[in-house]
Structure formats: structure tokens, C-alpha cells
């Protein structure tokens, strides 16, 4: 029998507000242990939380970016469980009235992964286990998170990967998080179940906790899919449980121990008051959103005439697309801008991290000037290309490398004159060409280029020469 994979994701994303969700401590990553802490975030008796307004705003933006409905009334709840990384023995989160309801993420195959809701909550501290001892650092405790809970709509590992990438992309665009999986600012709990193909019922699911790379998500899901299918095929049953994925062995194992009775006893946090979100505020935040990647990609294809491949590469990171947008301002051919970025600048921003930060010496305005020179016919493509390399090396503008004499000299008449000269002064090559040696034309074009000091358009020159001797 063939089995279908069914998966849903709970994705935690740390918000890049300046301060923690309930106190004024910095959210900066790292720092010496227990130096980003205060009585509130280490849960000293008597301390009280006060909600960071920006957290609500960031979460609403996240919700709008994935087409969620922003609740008019939201409330904070306590999720009670005792663990050393949780300084109050409860996490302030949302269950009964989350800030965002519904929404979806659309995949390239056209399927929409529906979202159940998005809520805000606080992160826990960090535990380091050494020789059986536990060291606790609360710097991360109280850093704001959103948790994006999807419906079990994912049907393949490729879809899972794309779902995570899409979320990462859109949240970075909106600017609410850097979504760095390796630093833990984006983490996924992956629910996996299987069912006979064609079946509508959901199978028993397992939950793989705390996945922090897309590769591992794929490997863990694959392992878990195989494990569940084997189990069912051999007459067994999947047990609903929480799993951890071991990168070294590529296997999942149960996290359950007799010490964890799981009953979170959620109830309204009496220390915090109701959040009312006015529709005006929602519209205000909506107006602050940048153009989202899916919309941008579509615009590049439909309006700028870019190939889909180009559009996708240019919209993958917000900084690149903004660079592109600025460099395109007023140019005749957006495709040349795309070519310069993808063909040349990308060679200097090889890693994904480089592409994300897109720290390029040449400003988009400088590229724009270069492309405009090309547009106006003042320089030719090969000169533009070599000039861009120099610009990228130095950060200087195009005009620092192209002199007046490099520009403009070759109008059509001048070109015809140069071609005539080439034909007259190279009878041997003309003869060879006429005898069928196609390559001989190159020598003639080369002559034109040489005498024009590289300013002539080689393609145009070739066609003119062919007209003359053809």
C-alpha cells in the first residue's frame, strides 16, 4: 500500500524588538551569561510583566503578511510547566484568545497551507548540560516569540521545506525577525502522521520538537515517515508522542519520561490586561508593510517582463529586491539590471547569508547610472560589464572608469566607415569568408573593434560587414 505524508508545523519566531516582551532588557543574541536579565525576566517573587507594545505591532504585521485575521480582542494566558529554563514555572502565552486567527502560506504548486492561528509568547532561557550538571542562563528568557500554528496541510517533504522557506522569507521582508535558524531565532516543531493514500482520516501523529535547520527537518520527516509506515505495515500502531531528532544518527527518539506529566493548566494571566486592537491600528500597520515577496515576484514577471527564474532570485531576500527596485528606477531595460545583479553581483555574494545581507560596494544608484549609460547607447554591454567589475571592487561610480572619449563616438555612419576600412584592408579574410570560412568574419569584426577602441557594437558590426561582402 502507498502512504501519504501528513504534516503540520508549529513555528517559533523570535521577534526583533529592541526589548523583551515583558521587561526592558535587551533582546540581543548572545551576551555574557545572565547579563541581559532583571528581576522581571528571572521571575523574582513579586515582579510583574508589562507588555511591550511593539510585540503586538510586530505580531500583527506578521499576521497580515500571511493573510491572517487580526483579533479585535486578545488575551494573555499562563501555560504552566516546571522546567529550569522557565523562571516562573509558567510561560506567558496565548491559548483562549490569540492575536491572529487563520491565514495561509501559498506554495509554488498553488497549494495553500492554512494557518490555525498565530500567538505571542515569551521564550525560555538556555540550559547547558555538562557532566550531568545543568547550567542556566536566562538571557533569552522573555525574548518575544510568535508561534505560527499551521493546519496539517503539508503533504510532502518538499512542501515542508518550501513552507518554512516561505515563512522565513515573508517574515524577513516584513522585518519582524531575522529568522536565523542556526541561532535559534526560528525553530519548528514538526507534526508527522501517515495515512493510506486516498484516505481522508488523519493518522496518529508524532511531534518532532525544536528543529533548527531545513535540512534536518527534511531528514527527520523522512525518517519519521519511514518509521511510521514500517510500524503500520508490520501491524503496529503509531503512539502519539513527542520526539527529538538526533542529527548524528539521523533518527528520532521519544522525549517522554515519567517525570513529565503534561497538562499545562492554561488560564488567563491575572497580571496582564486585555489587548484591544482597533481596526484603525490594523490599517495603519497594513500600510506600513512593504510589498510582499509573492506580490513583488508577480509584478516583476507581469510588469517588468522578467523571466520567472530572475524574478524568484531577485525577490528571495528583501534587500536584493529593494536593491533591484532602486537600480531599475527610470531604466529602459529592467532585464539588464537583473543580468548585472544575477550575473555579476551574485558572484560576489555567494552564500545565502551574503545574499541576505546584500552588502555590496556599488550602490543601487550607481548601478542605475551605469545601466542608463547603456540604455542611451553611450556605452556598449561589454564595457558596462567590465566597468561594473571595477565599480564593485572600488565602490566608485561608472564615470570614474569611463572617459568622455569612451562614450558616444560610434554612430551608425562611423560604424559603416570602420567596417568599410576593415573590408578594404583585409582582402584575405574577405576571400576566406566568401569561400565559406565563416570564422573569417571574426577577424574583420576584430579589426572594427580595435579601431573603435572597443566602443563599437560587435554584433552590429558583424551584420554590417556581412551586408557589404555577403
Amino acid at each position: 500500500m502507498k502512504y501519504e505524508l501528513v504534516s503540520g508545523f508549529e513555528t517559533h519566531i523570535e521577534l526583533s524588538t529592541k526589548t523583551k516582551i515583558f521587561c526592558g532588557c535587551t533582546t540581543q543574541f548572545g551576551g555574557e551569561p545572565n547579563t541581559h536579565c532583571c528581576p522581571v525576566c528571572i521571575g523574582l517573587p513579586g515582579t510583574l510583566p508589562v507588555l511591550n507594545r511593539e510585540v503586538v505591532r510586530f505580531a500583527i504585521k506578521a499576521g497580515l503578511a500571511v493573510h491572517g485575521e487580526i483579533a479585535e480582542v486578545a488575551k494573555m494566558d499562563r501555560k504552566n510547566y516546571c522546567y529550569p529554563d522557565l523562571s516562573k514555572a509558567y510561560q506567558i502565552s496565548q491559548l483562549y484568545a490569540p492575536l491572529i486567527i487563520g491565514g495561509y502560506v501559498e506554495l509554488s504548486n498553488g497549494r495553500k497551507i492554512r494557518l490555525h492561528h498565530i500567538h505571542i509568547e515569551e521564550d525560555a532561557g538556555k540550559l547547558i548540560h555538562q557532566h550531568g550538571d545543568t547550567y542556566v542562563d536566562y538571557n533569552r528568557g522573555g525574548v518575544p516569540l510568535i508561534e505560527i500554528v499551521s493546519e496539517p496541510d503539508i503533504r510532502s517533504i518538499d512542501e515542508a521545506k518550501e513552507y518554512v522557506e516561505k515563512l522565513q522569507q515573508v517574515m524577513r521582508y516584513v522585518g519582524i525577525s531575522d529568522c536565523k535558524m542556526q541561532e535559534g531565532s526560528m525553530r519548528c516543531d514538526v507534526n508527522v502522521s501517515v495515512r493510506p493514500e486516498g484516505s481522508e482520516e488523519l493518522g496518529t501523529r508524532t511531534e518532532i520538537k525544536n528543529m533548527n535547520s531545513i535540512n534536518n527537518i527534511a531528514k527527520a520527516m523522512e525518517y519519521e515517515y519511514d518509521r511510521q509506515v514500517d510500524l503500520i505495515e508490520s501491524g503496529g500502531q503509531v503512539v502519539q508522542e513527542t520526539l527529538r531528532y538526533d542529527d548524528a544518527t539521523g533518527t528520532t527518539s521519544s522525549m517522554r519520561s515519567k517525570e513529565d506529566a503534561h497538562d499545562y493548566r492554561y488560564f488567563r494571566d491575572p497580571d496582564l490586561v486585555t489587548i484591544n486592537v482597533s481596526r484603525e491600528e490594523v490599517e495603519q500597520l497594513r500600510s506600513e508593510l512593504p510589498e510582499l515577496p509573492a506580490d513583488k515576484c508577480k509584478r516583476y514577471i507581469d510588469e517588468l517582463g522578467l523571466p520567472e527564474k530572475d524574478a524568484q532570485l531577485l525577490t528571495k531576500y528583501r534587500k536584493i529586491s529593494e536593491y533591484f527596485d532602486e537600480a531599475c528606477e527610470g531604466v529602459k531595460s529592467p532585464k539588464s539590471v537583473s543580468n548585472f545583479i544575477i550575473g555579476q553581483i551574485f558572484r560576489r555574494t555567494e552564500t545565502e547569508a551574503d545574499k541576505e545581507s546584500f552588502d555590496v560596494k556599488t550602490s543601487p544608484k550607481q548601478l542605475n547610472e551605469l545601466v542608463k549609460l547603456l540604455d542611451s547607447g553611450k556605452i556598449r554591454n561589454n564595457l558596462a560589464k567590465s566597468t561594473l567589475e571595477k565599480m564593485l571592487d572600488s565602490g566608485k561610480g561608472a564615470l570614474d572608469f569611463i572617459s568622455e572619449s569612451d562614450m558616444g563616438g560610434i554612430d551608425e555612419n562611423a560604424l559603416i566607415e570602420l567596417c568599410k576600412n576593415a573590408v578594404e584592408s583585409n582582402p584575405k579574410a574577405v576571400e576566406d569568408f566568401k569561400n565559406g570560412k565563416e570564422k573569417a568574419i571574426k577577424a574583420l569584426v576584430g579589426n572594427v573593434m580595435k579601431n573603435s577602441r572597443g566602443k563599437a557594437d560587435a554584433v552590429l558590426a558583424e551584420s554590417k560587414i556581412k551586408e557589404m561582402i555577403g
Binding site: 526592558g24 545572565n34 506529566a261 488567563r268
Partner: protein
């Protein structure tokens, strides 16, 4: 009915040990308190609801950094610490 198993379960959730010999007594005492709490079942049904006293909403802080405490202060009351961390030794 409050059962021994209920009490064992809530003790585990509460991170409290209940010695075997105290379990029956505690179950009985919990049952009495629960019987007392059960009085609310005779209350008239209502959908009055309760949000918070004074019906407050939208109390926020601005996203402005306030200097954190030095780790020496943060760790001052720790029963055990090492290398600027709170420490839980596995065994003692």
C-alpha cells in the same frame, strides 16, 4: 470523586512528593475541600463572564531598553552558581 490517582497526578504536576502513607489522608482531605467547592454547582447559571477587575485594556510599555542588572546581582540569591550561571548539580 477525588481518587488516589488524581492526587498522585496533581502532586506530580505540582512537583510535590506525597509520601505513600499520607496519600489516603490527603485524598480524603482533598475530597472534603472539593465537596465544599462543589457548592458552586448549585449557583444559578450565568453568562455574566469576567474579564479583569476594572476592565482594563491596552496597558503597554514602549520598546525602550532599560539597563539590565549585573549578573552578580542576578545570581546573588542563587543557592548554587558557577561561571555566571545558575547551577543545578545532578547529584549531591
Amino acid at each position: 470523586m477525588v481518587t488516589r490517582e488524581d492526587v498522585e497526578n496533581i502532586a506530580l504536576l505540582s512537583k510535590l512528593f506525597v509520601p505513600e502513607e499520607e496519600l489516603d489522608g490527603l485524598t480524603k482531605s482533598m475530597q472534603e475541600i472539593i465537596d465544599f467547592a462543589d457548592a458552586i454547582n448549585n449557583a444559578p447559571a450565568s453568562d455574566e463572564g469576567f474579564d479583569n477587575i476594572n476592565n482594563l485594556s491596552n496597558v503597554f510599555r514602549e520598546d525602550e531598553v532599560i539597563e539590565s542588572y549585573p549578573s552578580t546581582e542576578i545570581l546573588k540569591n542563587a543557592p548554587e552558581q558557577a561561571e555566571d550561571h545558575f547551577l543545578v548539580r545532578n547529584r549531591e
